[in-house]
Every structure is written in C-alpha cells, then in structure tokens.
Symmetry: C2
C-alpha cells in the first residue's frame, strides 16, 4: 500500500463527507446513513435530479461541493471506470464499489476490472462486487441493506470477501458486535491484508474475523497478523477452498485463485491465525479469543452436571484433538472431600445434581479440579428459557463459582450450552462482563477451543 | 419383554392413575402433572402426611385406593427395593425410578440394583437414575423439573440414557416437539430397545431420537428399528463412546459397557439408523427426516444467493461425503435462459441478487436445475430478524419458488440458514407446513443430510 493510498484509506474509514452514487441501492444506503449517527456531510449523486429526497444531491461529480472522503458507488458496471476517473480528478479519498460484473465474469469483466484499476490511481477502493462498508465507530455506513447494528466503542472487525456472509453475521444472537464490517470482494485495489494492515493498530479493533477466498500478498498479511497478535488482538479466518469445488467456486465468485489449501493451513498455523470452517464457528472462536483470551495449549478441564455431557464432551474433544488429563491422586483426594458419594471423580467432571446451586462447595470443587494446571476451563450449562425461570438462580450460582475458580487459576474460561440456543442474551452479557466467553453448543465450543489454541 | 411386562409398559405410558412417591422432587412432579392436561387420578405418597397440599396423599403403599398404573419413585436409594416390592404386591403397573446410586456407583450399588430388579418382577420400570417420563399425548408427566412443553397429537419420541440431555432438548427453538420423552438411565429392567419396540407401532410417534450409551439386546433393537422404518418412522441415534474416555464415562454414568464403537457404527449403517454426534445434529436430522423424508443417496443440489455460501457449502459437503454433480449441458443451457449475465452456472448455484424476490423466474431456475435428478435439494437463506423485516417478502418469494420446484421434483427438500439463529420460528412453521425441513446452520445442514442419507 502506497502512503498516498494509506492516507486515502484513512479518509474512507473516518470520512468527513460521503457521496452515494447510483439508483435505488445508493438512495437506500444514503437514507440509512442519514438516519444514524454519522456527523459529517451526506450527498447524493445521480444524473436524474431529486432522486435522494431531502438529502442534497448532484447530477455530476463536477458539481459536488468538495472532494468527498468516501464514495458508495452503485452505478451500471460499464459506467464504473469513467465515474472513478472523475472522482479521482475531483480528489476523492476512497470508494466502496457495490457494482459487480468484473473479473468474476471472465474475459469481458477482466478487461473492465483492469480499466477500474487504472482509473483508481492512489484512491482507496473496496471491491468491486461488495455489499459495502459498515463503520460502527463513526456511523459512516456505506451499505445498501438494513443492518440493524448499533454503535460500539470497540469490537472485532469483520473483513469479508462474501457480502452475504457479512450481512448474516451481523444479525447474530451471540453478543458479537463488530466495530467495522468491510467487504473485500474482488480485491482489485485493496485486499484483505491492506485492511488488516491498516486496522492492526486501531485501538477500537479488538479482534479480526476474516472470510478469505484468496490472499494477494502473503508477507504483508503475515506482518499485519503479527502486529495484531503483538497487541493481543486475535485473528480468526474462515478460508474457503479446502475442496476442489470450493476452490473452483472462488474463481467465479470473486475471481480469486484459492490456492493450495495445505499451503494456507501451514501459513495460518505458523503465524497464529485461528482457522474455522463455518460462520457460527467464526463467531464462537472470536468470542472466546476476545472475551477470555487464547488457551496456551490443548489441555482442557471441563465440568458438567450430567453424565451424558461428559460422554459427549469426551467424544467431541477427541475429534478436535483436545486433551482431558485425568486428575492426579492428590486432586482426586481433594475432590472426594466435597463431591457427593454418587459422583465419579474425573475430567470432564460431572459434579452431579446434589451440588447444583451450592455455590461455596462448588467453588472448592472447581478450584481443586483446576489446581494441577490446565490451558482452559469449560462449564456446560443449558439455561432454561425465561418462562421456566425458577431454576435460574441455581445455574447462576454454579456459574459464579466456576468464574471465580477460573479467575484464580488465571486461565481462559468459557461456559457453553449443550444445545446452542440454551444460553440467552442476558446470560451472555453477564459472562462477558466477567471475562468468561459464552459459547453456544457442545460441539461448537470444543471446535472453537481447538481453533483458538494456536498460539 | 414378557407379555406381562409389555402390558405393564402400556399401563405406564397410558395410565389411569399416577402415584408420586417421595419428598420435594415427587411433590414438584405431582404439582406439575396436576396443573397440566392429565385426565386421570394423581396421588401422593410419603410417610409424613400432608406433603402434597391439595393432592390426595397417603403414608403407605397399602393405603393407596387401588393399584396405580404408574409410579414416580423418588425415595432414598436404600428404600427403593422394599417400596418396589410393596408396589408389585399392590399390583402396580409401571415405575419411573428417579432415585440414583445403583450400578453406576460400583460394588455396593450393583448389589442394590440387583435387589431392585428382583423386587420388580414383571412390572415395567424406567431407570433407575433417570429424570423421568414426559407424555405429551396424554399429559401423564412423571418429571421433577419444569419442562414447558405443550400437548401434541404426534411427534418424535426421545429415549435417552441422559436426563440432562433430554431436559435441554425440550427447550429447543427448532420446532421439534416431542410426543414422548423417556429416561432410560441404567436400563436395569427396561432398555432403549424395549421402548423402541413398544412405540414402533404407535401412530402418534413420527420418529425416534435416541441417546444411547449401550444397547442390551441387539436383535430386539434391530427388529424394532426395522418395524419403525417399514412404517416410515426414522430413527436417529446419538451414540456416545467413540473415544476411549467416553466409553469409560458411560460405565460410571449409567453402568453401561459402551462396547466397540466400530461395531455400533456397522450396526447402525446396516439397519438404517442415522447416527449423529451432537444434540443439535440430533434435532436437525430428526427435523429433516420427519418433515421432508430420507434422501435416497448423497447427490445434493443446492441454491444460494451468495458466492461465499457456495464455497462454504462445497467445503462442508466435501467433509461429509456429499456429492454436488454439476449440471449437464442441456441443464446449463436451460439455466442460462433465466439467470442474469453475472451468474455462474454450477451446483451449488448462486442465482445472484438480481433474481432475488423474482418468484416466477426463480421457480423456472430451480426446476431446470433439479431436472437431471438429485437425492435432495437445499436452499440457503438467512432471514433477517423481525425488526429488519422489510426484505422479508423477497426471502419468502424465493422460498415459495424453491418449495414448488422441489415438490415437483419429488425429492426431500430443506431450507437452511448460514448462521443457525437466522431462521425464525414463524419461518420454521411455514416451511414445515409445506413439508420442507428448516435446518439451522450451513455445517449443521450438510451434516444432517449426510446422517439422514442412510436408507
């Protein structure tokens, strides 16, 4: 990234003025941005006057009152290169190019994409072929669909070569609230590694979620990841292309060469990127890493109030390569002091229903079990829905005992539900407030711990 | 199962009277049953008079007004065998034994469990070491925790060696509503195969979800599964014990010898049991099989409005061994008539946003794509939450087009969300009403299709 382009990317991510250029999509995006918290100027651009209602609008780039810091571009594909050239000549900073139909189409589109690149010069351009850019720090949203997000002071940044994926991650019910959502699309000008490079030092960014079809500049990517990790900011990647069909798809989706998958895996392992395979695992792994921090290894201690959960945990962990070291003899003796007769001493530990809700005893149980030293601690709890709330205090007592014991052991801790939906938003918020990650689903939790244990 | 015990199991599952025997757990269970739809008699039993409030109660078995069809037993473990003997002498039908502390404890408990078995005679006994029995057909609930379920006319039956698991599956937000939930526990008298055998012919049972640590009688199990499948009733099993640790856990949890896992897998494959590895996959697979029916093989056709979903579907399907046959030349030509220029013809097919909401065109696209013949059809859609409802009609239009095309192709069809929570209850109900399975999560959907394709 040239210094000039870097300066323009800064303008794009913290703009004083935004132009929305195009028809219905631009009009919707402009209205949505105007209805939010953005403090700068918003202008419309369309050859037909009056398309933007109460928002000041112009029929040509030349008429704009000054050079815009950010532009949302949703014009017919053939018009994209000439409009970009006019914007560059006007002195615009950055462009989010929603228009599609470039390299991903093959021959004709490849040619048009080259024209786009030539027209762009040193401007910062996201896309083409992206949904847009959401900025929950300043409200500078360039996004043509309802998103429903709320302002945050900090949060993970999502950088995605799939617009639809970023759209549906936004509506998660897992308390993952993003700071930035950036569509990378065809990466004709700026690529995933450029955004990562720029945001690696941004204090409002607490983590990175990446959906990648291809990386263009591996050394730049590795250096940016290194800077993020040095600051304690984790990077989680959903990289498609493990199968031949997915690799072929990436070519037609965003014109990307997905590359040799084993090469990517080796790269991620080496530089400390947590790799996941589904959208929910991206969120779970980000949640674990940003809330509780990275496990130093794969040695897990787990607690449940159910023998069935113990057996399922054992199977799930086995598939993920996690290790349940059994308690040593001294720990076994300590545990027997507190556990009821019917309990079996082990790891995972079923502390059994007679101890359910006995906060002080359970804290001693958890502390004794964690004493030998593990890399992470996990408690399985399925909270009843609000209408069956009378048992809730027992669950909360068990959770408090667990959180205190894990804090004293100074290891990353998570509470997961056996069934994903059995961990409500209120409970999620309580756990996050204590630095304990709420994870949803017993298989998802073990997969997230495995993915996170790359450091 | 002897004919006498079978007759007693019938009494347990369709009782005229229920006795709740014991302290707090029995009192809670009696009150919950009384507050529901059960039409028969409810009696309490405790040496202390007056423990059951307004519910008629007795201080000894001898005093009961007649021989109860069903008994919920929650007395101290040492009292279990003598009380069972008294109940047998009284002529009781069946017992749900909530009390724990038997074979799962080792030596002492093994002895007590044998006393229990000897005392039981030909009565039907579920457990010991179970949460209980829920009966959503008649309201004859013997269950000491809030469950929140509602009466149904039919639905899948859940038979589980883990009480906690059955408890948290009940609060699913996936529109899976059970007819019966039966705790199998230690299986001292009745085992998973007995319940399956008895319910295989019950018209109110549309499917079986099993959580198994061990099976006691393989030929009986295989015969019962065969009868269920002959009637079009699928069987989905979550069988713990793939790992050594899980196998060892099963022994201490329910005193079960989990057995050689490869043997179980071979059995399930041979007799057509769909095997899954997590609670959410049990629900997803049951949903697919009971709503849409079993895929005849692994050849899948899938549709999305996102290139990212295509790549992720390709990777997920590859891991599961599902096959995406590409469209033949005639199909490609047919598709090109209807798809926009920017679309890439393939399977999975990204029909692209310009066609979003164009119901008639999409029906032609889906019909053309399905024409070569597949074993199942899948559409990926992430519905926005209710507060962002303005795009909902587009999603619904695409879903209707898909459902009509899949119905004409006469293959099982499902709509899945990329992120599990992006398929709301209202949408779930609409799809189920059309015989299309709502599946939650792109990884979960491919795993469920794979698990279901065993027939």
């Amino acid at each position: 990234m040239t210094p000039a382009r870097r300066a323009n990317l800064r303008r794009l991510l913290a703009p004083r003025h935004i132009v929305f250029a195009g028809g219905d999509s631009a009009v919707f995006a402009a209205g949505q941005c105007a209805a939010g918290d953005f403090k700068g100027e918003i202008w419309g651009l369309n050859p037909q006057p009056g398309r933007f209602g109460a928002i000041p609008s112009y029929t040509s780039v030349a008429e704009l009152p000054e050079a815009p810091d950010a532009v949302f571009l949703a014009v017919p594909r053939q018009r994209v290169p000439p409009v970009i050239k006019e914007l560059r000549e006007k002195g615009a900073g950055g462009i989010v190019c929603y228009s599609a139909g470039f390299g991903e189409l093959g021959d004709d589109g490849v040619h048009l994409e080259q024209e786009l690149i030539d027209a762009c010069g040193d401007m910062a351009l996201a896309g083409p072929n992206v949904f847009g850019l959401l900025n929950y720090i300043t409200g500078a949203h360039l996004w043509p669909f309802s998103h429903g997000g709320t302002p945050v002071e900090q949060g993970p940044a999502l950088i995605s070569q799939s617009g639809m994926l970023s759209g549906y991650l936004l509506t998660n019910r897992r308390s993952v609230r993003f700071s930035y959502v950036i569509g990378a699309g065809n990466q004709s000008v700026l690529g995933v590694e450029d955004y990562l490079d720029y945001l690696a030092d941004d204090p409002s960014v607490t983590g990175f979620g990446l959906y990648i079809e291809t990386l263009r500049d591996i050394p730049q990517f590795a250096a940016a990841v290194g800077r993020a990790l040095d600051r304690g900011v984790p990077v989680v990647a959903l990289k498609a292309g493990q199968s031949d069909l997915a690799a072929q798809t990436a070519l037609t989706h965003t014109g990307s060469l997905a590359g040799q998958d084993t090469f990517y895996q080796a790269l991620f392992d080496r530089i400390g990127v947590a790799r996941v395979s589904t959208p929910s695992l991206m969120l779970e792994t980000l949640q674990l890493l940003t809330t509780a921090g990275p496990p130093k290894g794969r040695r897990l201690a787990a607690f449940t109030c159910s023998g069935g959960d113990v057996a399922m945990l054992a199977d799930c962990a086995d598939r993920e390569g996690l290790i349940f070291d059994p308690p040593d003899e001294a720990t076994q003796r300590a545990l027997r002091q507190w556990l009821p007769e019917i309990a079996t001493v082990g790891n995972p530990l079923d502390y059994t229903t007679p101890l359910w809700g006995h906060e002080d005893t359970l804290e001693k149980v958890f502390a004794a079990a964690l004493a030998p030293g593990y890399d992470a601690a996990l408690l399985v709890q399925d909270y009843p829905p609000p209408e069956l709330g009378e048992d809730r205090p027992y669950y909360q007592a068990d959770a408090r005992a667990f959180m205190r014991a894990a804090a004293k052991a100074s290891i990353p801790a998570a509470i997961c539900s056996g069934l994903p939906e059995n961990l409500d938003i209120e409970t999620q918020q309580t756990l996050i407030g204590q630095g304990v990650a709420p994870l949803q689903g017993i298989g998802e939790a073990t997969a997230a711990i495995r993915a996170a244990a790359v450091f």
